[in-house]
């Protein structure tokens, strides 16, 4: 029983990180129809920003703030410089543009910093565990779950209450008509990118807290997982991206915990097989709607 709850907490914590990343991807996709390959590099950027901030002796809290701010600004800059000029081009052009942005960032990280991992020392008080109702829960897990929950609640309020938030949901359904409401297209797209950067930044901090180091390809694996989560939840659905992130994490964590040792090497294949089965049953994704496919 205790192991079950432990694993549940682990899955919730990992799922939160996937959910934040997937939500950022889905936000940009729902507004622009662009799958942003460079999303993972925003995470990596957070890592390097923190590495240099700590190196400069700024301390962990400030490093976290700087790391997240860096990802947010970089996402907005990315849209301004790379994606805005090709916004009206076809999907393949935008896809290739994002691939180019991603490649350029990899090269810069590798050549200007290093191909080898750079350590980001995790403060000692974060290593331990706290006692929650007789269970030892890792501090990092607890922080990660709390941060995810707070961020998701804040975003949900923004998307439901503010005019810009409603406009973003409207733009996901019908961009031209949203412009007919007098909503500035650039503002909606820039906000989508800014929020996706913010989410990637927070996910980057959570990821780093678990790993303790940053390398040029740090963002690749988690964002690959987030892609899967987005498709699993229903491409273009924000709620779907969050659900997909958690479902994927639960599958992964529980397979890792309860598969017989001999099967463990096939963990990833089994995970992906399960995802494919889910998609065969519900091709529109867990939350996606058929009528949204235009």
């Amino acid at each position: 029983m205790e192991i079950l709850i432990q694993q549940f907490v682990n899955a919730l914590s990992l799922g939160g990180t996937y959910a934040l990343l997937a939500l950022g991807l889905a936000m940009v996709f729902s507004v622009l129809g662009l799958i942003n390959f460079a999303h993972g590099d925003l995470m990596t950027l957070t890592g390097y920003a923190m590495f240099f901030a700590i190196g400069a002796g700024l301390g962990m809290p400030l490093a976290v703030v700087l790391g997240i701010a860096c990802a947010t600004l970089a996402a907005v800059a990315m849209e301004r410089v790379a994606f805005r000029p090709v916004r009206d081009a076809n999907t393949a052009t935008m896809l290739l543009t994002s691939l180019a942005v991603s490649t350029i960032l990899h090269m810069l990280f590798q050549n200007l910093i290093s191909a080898r991992p750079r350590a980001i020392p995790v403060p000692s008080w974060m290593i331990g565990a706290v006692d929650v109702g007789g269970l030892a829960i890792g501090v990092i897990q607890l922080m990660s779950i709390t941060a995810t929950a707070l961020l998701l609640i804040a975003l949900s309020i923004f998307l439901r209450r503010s005019t810009l938030g409603i406009a973003m949901r409207a733009a996901a359904l019908d961009f031209p008509v949203t412009r007919l409401m007098g909503i500035n297209a650039n503002a909606v797209v820039a906000t989508a990118f800014g929020l996706s950067g913010l989410l990637a930044g927070v996910a980057g901090v959570l990821w780093l807290a678990q790993r303790g180091s940053v390398d040029p390809l740090m963002g690749f694996l988690p964002v690959l997982k987030a892609f899967i989560a987005v498709v699993l939840g229903g491409l273009g659905s924000l709620a779907g991206a969050v659900v997909g992130g958690f479902v994927l994490a639960f599958i992964e964590v529980f397979l890792r915990a309860f598969l017989p040792d001999g099967w463990l090497p096939f963990r990833e294949s089994i995970t992906l097989t399960l995802v494919i089965v889910l998609l065969l049953v519900r091709p529109e994704g867990l939350i996606g709607q058929r009528e949204n496919v235009r």
Partner: protein, 242 residues
């Protein structure tokens, strides 16, 4: 009529091209303040292209679009809406996964002061009481007629100086169409200026002051609505013979 200040909307020499296809070949029209003007024509005559081009949704090749004397040709749709012209698009296109309340809220997004939007909203809910009943329902769950009312109310939320209505009768039962057209006529009584695109000639000319008939991207016929209704020329122009 010449280009006097009485023209709220004045379009001349409009050309729209999709690749090699010329959708609009030098069409123009005028709408005076307080008028309902009908823009008629068969399927593919270019009516929607005309509206989309003057709203900035599709690029125009050439032409002049004056809104209250200012040239707005080629501006972005959101900028044109802020100047006071809006379009209620063909096929209603309400935001299906947003509530009625949210659809109306975003329609009033250009009203900067919250008080303005609230006053307009109260007016709209008085005029379209069914929207008040369905306030928290997803727009996608409304009937076709209710969605059309929502689409018109949403467009009116920006308090436009002129509203372009694209095929408000499309896909609706005749009884519902009558209701919608009564509501459009009522909007005029409350001071709205309307450019109405329709395939349903009789209905449109019944509430319009004047009418234009597009054929193959050109204005084939223009005149007061009563004369167009009586003459029978409209049917001939519909066949597209210039």
């Amino acid at each position: 009529m010449n280009n006097g200040p009485e023209h709220l909307l004045d379009v001349a020499g409009l050309e729209v091209r999709y690749g090699a296809i010329e959708a609009i070949r030098g069409a123009g029209l005028e709408v005076c303040k307080g008028e309902i003007v009908a823009l008629l024509g068969a399927n593919g005559a270019g009516k929607s292209s005309f509206l989309n081009a003057i709203m900035g949704l599709v690029p125009l090749t050439s032409g002049r679009v004056l809104l209250d004397g200012e040239d707005i040709a080629g501006e972005a749709p959101e900028a044109i809406v802020r100047r006071g012209m809006t379009l209620c698009p063909e096929g209603r296109r309400v935001f299906a996964n947003l509530t009625v309340r949210e659809n109306l809220a975003i329609g009033g997004a250009t009203r900067r002061r919250a008080g303005d939007a609230a006053t307009i909203l109260t007016g709209m809910l008085d005029r379209f009481p069914v929207l008040a009943e369905r306030h928290d329902q997803m727009a996608g769950t409304l009937s076709g007629g209710e969605q059309q009312m929502l689409a018109i109310a949403r467009a009116m939320m920006s308090a436009p100086r002129i509203v372009l209505l694209d095929e408000p009768s499309l896909g609706l039962a005749p009884r519902i169409v009558d209701t919608i057209f009564e509501m459009i006529a009522a909007l005029q009584h409350h001071g709205a200026t309307i450019l109405l695109v329709e395939q349903n000639v009789d209905l449109a000319l019944d509430i319009a002051d004047r009418g234009y008939v597009l054929a193959s991207g050109r204005v084939a016929l223009a005149g007061p609505a009563s004369e167009l209704l009586a003459s029978g020329d409209v049917e001939r122009a519909y066949m597209g013979r210039d």
